[in-house]
């Protein structure tokens, strides 16, 4: 009994024996508060000064509602497009050896490394009517740049790495035995994919979708060049916030920002629970 008591005391000492807990936690909380929490609280403070009626009036103006519909709608479509093409890229990179595979793998992160303004002017130059791709689409009556479709293109670009990088590790860890068993029992490759592989990667795919969606909702730099920015048609909420700020309409900008923040935080919670679920499945 004395032995166990001594043991537990020494264990307690060991777990608290590393130095610097107090100072490091204190510095973390201070820096976090100064840079992130206090500035973000300004949105809440300013929005609460507005009052509920004024807040609702600002947020529910036709132009604001249209911008929210465009921002969330285009981000949703882009994230949905990113699911199959992200899965295709992740699948091919992690499963098939082919020349240039490492190059493609490294390039996947380009949208994260490339400044958004550069992505914006590059995509606009590609898809404009006289651009490398736009000139072939224009005779077919397809115009992508300066329409809501242009917004979707920009958001597919910025969201792509999120899907690939979430799905890829799951595909690499997946146990091939199940797939091989299915095929030896006479399943076609397509059946094996739909019945065996897809259920395993579905949570990762969903997480990637949510991450791409969250990134797309707030995206600004790559979108404003290609969107055309017509109010009610192709004006995203972040741009409307900037416009209101330039007109010194701080109340309008703050109200819209609060709506976007709440949307983003809801998404963040969803992503966190998805990732917890993913980790749980991974452990089993």
């Amino acid at each position: 009994m004395t032995a166990t008591a001594t043991n537990s005391i020494s264990r307690w000492r060991v777990s608290g024996s590393l130095p610097g807990f107090g100072p490091s936690l204190g510095y973390t909380l201070l820096y976090l508060s100064l840079i992130v929490l206090i500035p973000l609280a300004m949105i809440l403070l300013r929005a609460s000064e507005l009052g509920l009626d004024a807040f609702i009036a600002k947020v529910s103006s036709p132009r604001a509602l249209a911008s929210l519909r465009i921002s969330f709608g285009c981000a949703l479509i882009a994230a949905a497009i990113n699911m199959p093409i992200g899965l295709l890229l992740a699948w091919v990179i992690s499963r098939y050896p082919f020349p240039g595979r490492r190059l493609v793998d490294a390039l996947i992160d380009l949208p994260i490394a490339l400044p958004t303004a550069v992505a914006g002017i590059a995509l606009t130059a590609l898809y404009a009517r006289n651009g490398w791709l736009g000139q072939w689409l224009a005779p077919l009556g397809i115009e992508l740049a300066f329409t809501p479709a242009g917004i979707v293109i920009a958001l597919v670009f910025v969201g792509l790495p999120f899907v690939v990088r979430t799905v890829q590790p799951v595909l690499q860890d997946i146990e091939h035995e199940q797939e091989e068993a299915a095929e030896s029992l006479g399943a076609t490759p397509l059946q094996t994919f739909v019945r065996v592989s897809l259920p395993t990667i579905a949570p990762a795919l969903l997480t990637g979708f949510a991450l791409a969606f969250a990134r797309g909702v707030g995206e600004y730099g790559s979108v404003i060049f290609i969107a055309g920015n017509m109010p009610m048609i192709s004006e995203i909420t972040p741009l409307l916030i900037v416009t209101q700020l330039e007109q010194y309409d701080y109340a309008g900008a703050t109200a819209l920002a609060l709506v976007m923040l709440l949307g983003s935080f809801a998404l963040l919670l969803l992503i966190n629970s998805l990732q917890a679920w993913l980790a749980h499945r991974g452990r089993r």
Binding site: V14, L18, P19, G20, F21, L25, Y27, T28, Y31, L32, V36, P39, L40, M42, I43, L45, R46, I85, L89, V92, Y96, V104, A106, I108, D109, L110, I112, A113, L114, P115, T116, A117, V118, A119, I121, A122, A125, G131, W132, P189, A214, G218, E219, Y220, G221, F225, P238, L239, I241, V242, L245, Y248, Y250, A253, T254, A257, M260, L261, S264, L268
Partner: protein, 286 residues
């Protein structure tokens, strides 16, 4: 009748071809069009565009802002990862979520919050104005917005690495008489160096390339509060497309260097985890 093996090979080739097309369309073409646009009117115009005074001022400001923001977030990342990964305390997972918060915020809102705090109509703005100190439409605002958007990068790379390492090495060093700082420099830092470098590379790329947040607080004063990405926008909106692509090509170079450095660090970290690949298959034998 095509045999199943042949059909499998055809399907595989089709998938690879599809993936290469997607990568070419979405990842390679944007790079090529920037580079070709930059040199469309000859090398002399290219060199003139990237060496004119406003472009150089923008480059200098971008480097200055990055040189402030990255070290600050690096120190924060190490300190935060130390207390989160090496100690157990209530509210730890909430703290991790709060550190990730800037990733969920639109860049425009990341700028807006500092306007609300330090702008002319902001909470502290009038008071700072009397003291003769400008934050918004000046360099301090650009630095703050850049710190905000790159805030989590180092911390979120280090936390899982430090957690995986545990506390055993540090405790051994301390019990052998090393001081806290010695333990950190000689034991902890060598263990986390690749994760640290990885976070710094991502942090640096975002700091140099940030557009939305910086655009809101900058005021776009040429030669004074213009960073490289903002300079690209100004040139583009003035229909100086060749000059815009020329300056943008510098940022493309930054992105490519980032990808190369990232890939290199990943390979080195992988090699450190699996020092001798020849030994591995034997280890898996029962």
């Amino acid at each position: 009748m095509i045999g199943p093996d042949r059909r499998y090979r055809i399907a595989r080739s089709a998938l690879i071809l599809g993936a290469l097309s997607v990568a070419g369309l979405f990842l390679v073409l944007p790079l090529l069009i920037v580079l070709s646009g930059a040199i469309a009117k000859g090398w002399s115009l290219y060199l003139a565009s990237i060496s004119e005074p406003d472009a150089l001022a923008a480059l200098r400001l971008t480097l200055t802002v990055t040189a402030i923001a990255v070290p600050l977030n690096l120190v924060f990342g190490v300190v935060a990862a130390w207390c989160i990964a090496k100690f157990e305390f209530p509210g730890r997972s909430a703290l991790i979520t709060l550190i990730d918060l800037p990733l969920a915020v639109s860049p425009v809102i990341s700028g807006l919050i500092y306007v609300l705090l330090f702008g002319a109509q902001g909470l502290l703005g009038p008071w700072l104005g009397e003291a003769g100190f400008r934050v918004i439409f000046a360099v301090p605002g650009i630095v703050l917005a850049t710190i905000f958007v790159t805030f989590p990068f180092v911390a979120r790379e280090l936390i899982p690495v430090m957690q995986a390492q545990g506390r055993d090495h540090e405790e051994a060093a301390l019990s052998l008489g090393a001081s806290g700082w010695q333990t950190f420099w000689r034991v902890t830092l060598p263990n986390i160096k690749w994760g640290l470098l990885y976070g710094v590379i991502l942090c640096n790329a975002r700091a140099m390339g940030e557009f939305g947040a910086v655009s809101v607080v900058s005021g776009h004063i040429r030669g004074k509060t213009n960073t490289l990405p903002l300079h690209v926008e100004i040139l583009y909106n003035e229909y100086q497309h060749t000059a815009a692509f020329a300056v943008a090509s510098l940022l493309v170079l930054l992105a490519l260097l980032t990808l190369v450095a990232k890939t290199w660090v990943e390979a080195r970290a992988h090699r450190d985890r699996h020092p001798d690949p020849i030994v591995q298959p034997d280890e898996e034998l029962p």
